[in-house]
């Protein structure tokens, strides 16, 4: 069923089966997100896209758009919740932006800028996490992983390789590599794989590309995360033929 719903006071259309996230993006409305990516099966785990639907919280990336529903998205309360979630992602990992080659291209950083995150209400964990540098062309740095599951979905659904999985539980959760040795070098992953390019943070990097684009001229140095997200959706719609 297609129809219309209201987001932040604005009436926007949706097509049958669309999620709130998809319909909003088509209408040029940005809903902050990290584990969602257009074209990928929703994961609904980062909770950054939580919106109020008729007064109840729901993940915009998994909740279907409903005729006549009233959705709150860009409100101070929801953005403060999003800031808290983003702070948690920072303090639970080892995100040292000045020492990370993904800086400026990192979605976690860009979302934090969008939410105006300058301080933390939580102490830093500095967890002990491993780096897998075994592959000649690809680096896996778990210190920067936010467990968005995008590499898992990309490798399974796009590349057809099943290289990654989220292993362990709770605070011990880690991206693990599907090889008897657990090493990236012992998989058939390739630099051209979607799984390598989909990582929103600096957890999966192509080696020897660090400063090909200088800091200051990178994706989110030039555009906001909202602009980039909306442009990506428009480009995808054009690829689909309108």
């Amino acid at each position: 069923m297609s129809g219309h719903f209201i987001i932040d006071g604005r009436t926007i259309p949706f097509r049958a089966g669309q999620t709130i996230m998809e319909a909003a993006a088509d209408a040029g409305v940005y809903i902050p997100h990290l584990c969602h990516r257009p074209g990928y099966t929703p994961h609904g785990s980062c909770k950054l896209c939580t919106v109020d639907v008729d007064g109840r919280p729901a993940s915009a990336c998994t909740a279907k758009a409903q005729e006549g529903s009233i959705v709150e998205n860009d409100t101070p309360a929801l953005n403060d919740d999003r800031r808290a979630l983003t702070e948690m992602l920072f303090v639970e990992g080892n995100h040292i932006c000045p020492a990370c080659e993904k800086t400026g291209d990192c979605q976690l950083q860009a979302v934090a800028y969008h939410l105006k995150l300058v301080s933390y209400r939580f102490d830093h964990f500095y967890p002990a996490r491993g780096v897998d540098a075994s592959h000649p062309d690809i680096l896996l740095d778990r210190n920067r992983c936010i467990l968005c599951d995008l590499c898992v979905r990309a490798s399974r659904d796009v590349d057809g390789k099943n290289v990654f999985e989220i292993g362990h539980r709770g605070i011990r959760s880690r991206v693990i590599v599907n090889a008897a040795s657990g090493r990236l070098a012992d998989t058939d992953i390739d630099v051209s794989d979607a799984a390598v390019r989909v990582c929103p943070v600096g957890a999966i990097l192509i080696k020897r590309r660090a400063f090909a684009v200088p800091i200051g001229k990178r994706t989110y140095d030039l555009k906001s995360v909202a602009e980039v997200a909306i442009e990506e959706v428009r480009a995808q719609r054009e690829d689909e033929g309108g």
Binding site: I96, P98, A99, K116, V118, S119, Y120, H124, A128, S224
Partner: protein, 180 residues
Amino acid sequence: MAERKLRVATTSLAGCFGCHMSLLDIDERLFDLVQVVEFDRSPLTDIKHCGPCDLGLIEGGVCNAENVHVLREFRENCRILVAVGACAITGGVPALRNNIDLWDCFREVYQYEAGTAKGVLPNDPELPLPFDKVRPIYEVVHVDYYLPGCPPSADVFWKFVTDLVAGREPTLDREMLRYD
């Protein structure tokens, strides 16, 4: 211009003085700055202890016992305390050592590194006790404002200080908000 000059103290804890260099990068605006501020304890004055101040700028995280003493002295004396730069706010680059055993760090630096004389570990009682983890300053004392960046740009310092002097709530524009 303010009738009484704003008294400012600055220090670098586990930092590289890059934030201080960036403050100096306000260039000719330094002449305007000294019309409205005067410096207390700071690497710029070489005053050894902090007296009562309006503003304390802390660069760097907390990596040893001396850092804690200095930080507390600043907190006790400064009406407004500011975490300046990535290290003060998150631990930053020095926090890269947080998952390396401290003993292994020392041996790497003082015994294995080429050019270290006889591989002797410094052990003078005057040397501050190092911590096993580098911590951001807000985990030790209350912090009033944060200036992100590695370093925060000269414009960030200028915007913050001019807001404060003018009696405005200091805010950063989106393009001034950077973690790198």
